[in-house]
Symmetry: C2
Subunit: 323 residues, 2 copies
Amino acid sequence: MALGEFDLIGKYFTRSTPRAVLGVGDDCALLQPAPGQHLAVSSDMLVEGRHFLSTVRPERLGHKALAVNLSDLAACGARPLAFTLALALPRVDETFLAGFAQGLLALADQHGIELVGGDTTAGPLNICITVMGEVPPGQALRRDGARAGDALWVSHPLGGGIGDARLALEAFRGQISLPGDDFETVRRAMEQPQPRVALGLALRGLATAAIDVSDGLCGDLGHILRRSQVGAVIQASQLPLSPVLARQARPLQLDCALAGGDDYELLFTAPPDRQAEVLAAGQAAGVGLRCIGQLRAEPGLVLHDDQGGLQALSARGFDHFAG
Amino acid sequence: MALGEFDLIGKYFTRSTPRAVLGVGDDCALLQPAPGQHLAVSSDMLVEGRHFLSTVRPERLGHKALAVNLSDLAACGARPLAFTLALALPRVDETFLAGFAQGLLALADQHGIELVGGDTTAGPLNICITVMGEVPPGQALRRDGARAGDALWVSHPLGGGIGDARLALEAFRGQISLPGDDFETVRRAMEQPQPRVALGLALRGLATAAIDVSDGLCGDLGHILRRSQVGAVIQASQLPLSPVLARQARPLQLDCALAGGDDYELLFTAPPDRQAEVLAAGQAAGVGLRCIGQLRAEPGLVLHDDQGGLQALSARGFDHFAG
């Protein structure tokens, strides 16, 4: 790309950064972390065909690219501070850039996080965002603090559930057919996930472990179980399902909810005697919360199914989509 | 990629991170910035064919991917602290990964910077690194502090010069032919640049402005001139050239030195009465330093050529390679 084209890209992404000491336009951005806070850092790279489809609207892609990174801060209980954006584009496409920047920066504004720097280059479409947030020492939500006896919780949209993003992907792939309105509903879940930042903050000092559901509930739960050296039982009947997913066949419901991925909801554990506080945290954050099971000392993950039977799930999770 | 392949990737990059509160393996890494320090942040994305050739050895590619990011910290006078790596790979290739990780982590160790997190995914080869460093408030080297009358300096390898990386690229492209030893020398300059971190630290409180030479000396100087609202005169006779570049035709020497790019040397300005301190900083950092011109109030960039004539250079720099 010629210099003029780079200037064009800057036009869409360069804004004032009142919280940064020095924003876009120098070799580095300069940030002033609040005294005594720990800095939480995470990077996610999004590639077409793997993390998004070519049919996605640029506004939604911009939203999602930042959302999946904010979701990591949420899972850590960190307050968003700043992010960098590195973008490889096959060609400079103003319509794409304008929409992408709009979706990205609208979500950034919602969460008070500033774009402080980055890089643009010619290349196959690739979006890499690094987020930074703040968390008081000792208060970060980690994966290794779950204890036997803790309740297992998952967040969900009010009036909705988990697994919708995967249902949308199945529809895109032609594996199932959905009425137009239902398709639009689950498509939005896939393309415009809402990072649970407020919930993550509300769970500081309350959740014993947390992770965001990006690869599928069972697989992500497996990370908590391994790091915390505990096992878990999930009650299938307690999984929160949206009306659209609830209209599908039961096996597909379970596949989507347990192995779907791309939910960006928080999966966390908390002592059973703190249920009222957990529910209050969900209410304060404006999200639904459902207790879907319990941790136990015996290793492994077990599904308590609708008929009251128990089914052992493999360490790799519950994935009928794989292979 | 299947889970097992991701585990494989982790094997090459996961190491202990004694300075981080929490390293690789959770939703976020947790860092503890030193009290009162500013945090310097920069991201660079490297794409095959644009930032490196497919023929590069994986060790050197790993080195270069981190080096270009460390160079941004150097240009800011920041002390390296931590970095994240996001990597898209067409397929899991153990030989590539082992070499890449070796080159990357060897340079990380040299500069005491820890790999604290990141992401790996299937996709066209893409390397995105975000570096974080620390700098005391008010001591960062910026682009906007140059003043008329300041001396203009550029760093270079001891016994070497600037422009070698570009000479190597011209040889790769078949535009010129070099004897084998000369080719290997300049190829190493292109593939294994040395970030001037120690120099950047030594220039705190001494340089009035600084940038690293990534796009070409004139173009990068243009950023300082615009941000500082000054002009400059460069003395062609003072440009440091390696023995290999010095054997080329004079026009090619100037093209490579003034517009070559990929040097990752520091270009900086300092008050003329501090020449002895500047030279001492170079000596302490183990790099060569050459005064190549002076800043002046009159805007624009002028080249004082070998015959004593003056040649105005465009804002885009001195680039006979373009178009």
